[in-house]
């Protein structure tokens, strides 16, 4: 008790060390500097900003009434094409991603150069936006749904392969070792040791990617890769705002429907 009677020592408790505080402060400083630099450099025309509410009202009045008659005429077919692009693209992505994902998993293929090469494929697939993939494939195959499907497929490889490879790496070794001990070839080890363990993750990844692909395939038409984006692009270029509104409503409906489908499937199957 005597000790507590003395004048309390001035002891400051700190959660972080000086180096940690300095590092955090440096990040904050860099962020603020970046924001200020961006604000000063970006070319924003103030008149356009002041004009914006008026222009939005103008846009909405031009869009109204929505051209529902255009839906059976042109939009329905394009919308179905978009869904086909998203679905076929997802399937293509899954087929291409499975082997790459296997090669990227260190527990399956214990060779670092092969793992790194597979990871390089996955990273480059993800770094290129699906619109850029679409541009490339339009350059190769010409405008149309084929380019869109390939773009969606190639963009999906990185996403699916990365998540699938991580699921494989997290799989338990027990069943695989049992199969290895029984003399099973690597195909059986994959099919009966790994696949039952990663199957739920695989379907979950596939559904998730399909949902994203439905959204992305709606814009591919802007660069000529088929689907509803092409209808949107031509309506925009001709300033047919009621049709633009109809296309936007259709895209919105499909995106919401896709999300509902994914939620239901996830609930019932997984």
């Amino acid at each position: 008790m005597a000790r507590s009677m003395r004048a309390p020592e001035l002891r400051v408790w700190r959660r972080f060390t000086r180096a940690q505080r300095l590092s955090r402060f440096a990040v904050y400083l860099a962020l603020v500097a970046a924001i200020v630099a961006a604000l000063r450099a970006v070319e924003v025309i103030p008149e356009f900003l002041a004009d914006a509410p008026e222009q939005v009202v103008d846009l909405l009045t031009r869009m109204w009434p929505i051209d529902f008659a255009h839906y059976p005429a042109a939009i329905h077919a394009a919308l179905m094409e978009t869904i086909h692009i998203a679905t076929l693209g997802t399937l293509l992505g899954l087929v291409l991603a499975l082997p790459v994902g296997v090669l990227a998993a260190h527990s399956l293929v214990p060779s670092l150069p092969i793992n790194l090469a597979a990871k390089l494929i996955l990273v480059s697939s993800r770094s290129v936006n699906s619109l850029v993939w679409a541009l490339l494939f339009v350059g190769i195959f010409g405008p149309g749904a084929l380019a869109g499907t390939l773009a969606i497929g190639f963009r999906s490889i990185g996403f699916v392969g990365k998540l699938f490879g991580e699921a494989l790496d997290e799989a338990q070794r027990g069943p695989v070792e049992a199969l290895t001990a029984a003399g099973a070839p690597w195909t059986s080890r994959l099919a009966f040791g790994y696949w039952p363990q990663v199957r739920p993750a695989f379907w979950s990844i596939a559904l998730f990617r399909w949902d994203i692909n439905v959204r992305e395939s709606a814009v591919l038409g802007l660069v000529g890769a088929g689907g509803i984006g092409m209808v949107l692009d031509s309506a925009l270029n001709l300033f047919q705002w009621p049709r633009v509104a109809m296309v936007l409503v259709a895209i919105f409906a499909v995106v919401v429907a896709a999300e509902a489908v994914v939620t239901q499937v996830r609930k019932r199957v997984l």
């Binding site: 070319e43 924003v44 770094s127 936007l248 919105f252």
Partner: protein, 286 residues
């Protein structure tokens, strides 16, 4: 349960559903390919084209680097400002949408805003903003702000709804006002997750800011699309290489920020860790 059940010839009989699903899948693929007019001849014709196309992509032409750098800087500015604005707006909206802190009549409108912001692709939102505020970076900033509100708002709401009530109750019981409950009961619990998805959003905005230019909303995308339409493929290649480099640098920075804020690393740790993994890789490779 007196009689033992008869042994089936197939004790592990498989369900017929996977096979039915596989057949349905094949039928769908054939049907969809026919609908999309995808055929082997087209793929084959395209493959011949591919060699020609790739021959024209290389070598990349960096001659007009001033235009390239200007576009990339503008993309970077769009990404930074859209992330800042988007996060600043998403935090109050996400907080308002959290059902464990707010009454339903307050959380539902906020949830609706988040769903609406998430539903359309940023490039489509950019089209609308190009009409509203004209061509240029401002349209891109606003479009990506909307996307950020949707993404951060959703994740922030989910993070808040998953917090532990104990701290919140303790601070309430001490008689703290609502602002203190937020500052000391809620925010510390979600801070590390917030850093996680804020850096992810910055990364994602950087990717999309290189694309919104396709519809005239500023950044390198406009230059890319114009070069592509002029069949300036070697310049397209230079732009693509620069975009990928920019995105990879962005990803590295995002990882560094996450390490500093979530794992309490310092700058010194980051460098040392880089050296350590490099050394480990060498050892493993040997």
């Amino acid at each position: 349960m007196n009689t033992a059940p008869a042994l089936s010839a197939h004790p592990f009989r498989r369900s017929a559903w996977p096979r039915i699903a596989a057949v349905a899948l094949v039928v769908y693929i054939v049907y969809a390919c026919a609908q999309l007019e995808v055929s082997w001849e087209r793929v084959h014709a395209g493959l011949g084209n591919a060699a020609h196309f790739f021959a024209r992509l290389f070598p990349p032409n960096f001659a007009r680097s001033d235009l390239l750098i200007k576009g990339l800087t503008e993309s970077l500015e769009i990404a930074i400002l859209a992330s800042t604005l988007g996060i600043a707006l998403a935090l109050p909206i996400g907080l308002a949408a959290a059902r464990n802190l707010m009454p339903p009549w307050f959380s539902w409108p906020a949830r609706l805003v988040i769903v609406a912001a998430r539903s359309l692709h940023p490039v489509i939102v950019a089209i609308i903003f190009v009409k509203a505020v004209g061509f240029g970076a401002l349209a891109g900033i606003l479009a990506l702000t909307v996307a950020s509100i949707g993404f951060i708002g959703k994740l922030f709401t989910e993070a808040i709804e998953e917090i532990s009530d104990k701290q919140v109750e303790a601070i309430r019981a001490a008689g703290a006002p609502f602002a203190s409950v937020l500052a000391f009961g809620v925010l510390p619990q979600v801070f590390s997750r917030f850093i996680g998805f804020a850096t992810y959003q910055l990364d994602s905005n950087l990717r999309n800011s290189t694309m919104v230019g396709i519809v005239g909303a500023g950044g390198i995308g406009g230059t890319l699309f114009a070069a592509f339409q002029r069949f300036d493929y070697d310049y397209v290649c230079a732009i693509l290489i620069s975009i990928i480099a920019l995105i990879m640098v962005g990803e590295l920075l995002a990882t560094a920020i996450r390490a500093i804020f979530i794992e309490n690393a310092t700058f010194g740790d980051l460098f040392r860790r880089g050296a350590a993994t490099r050394r480990a890789r060498h050892v493993e490779a040997d």
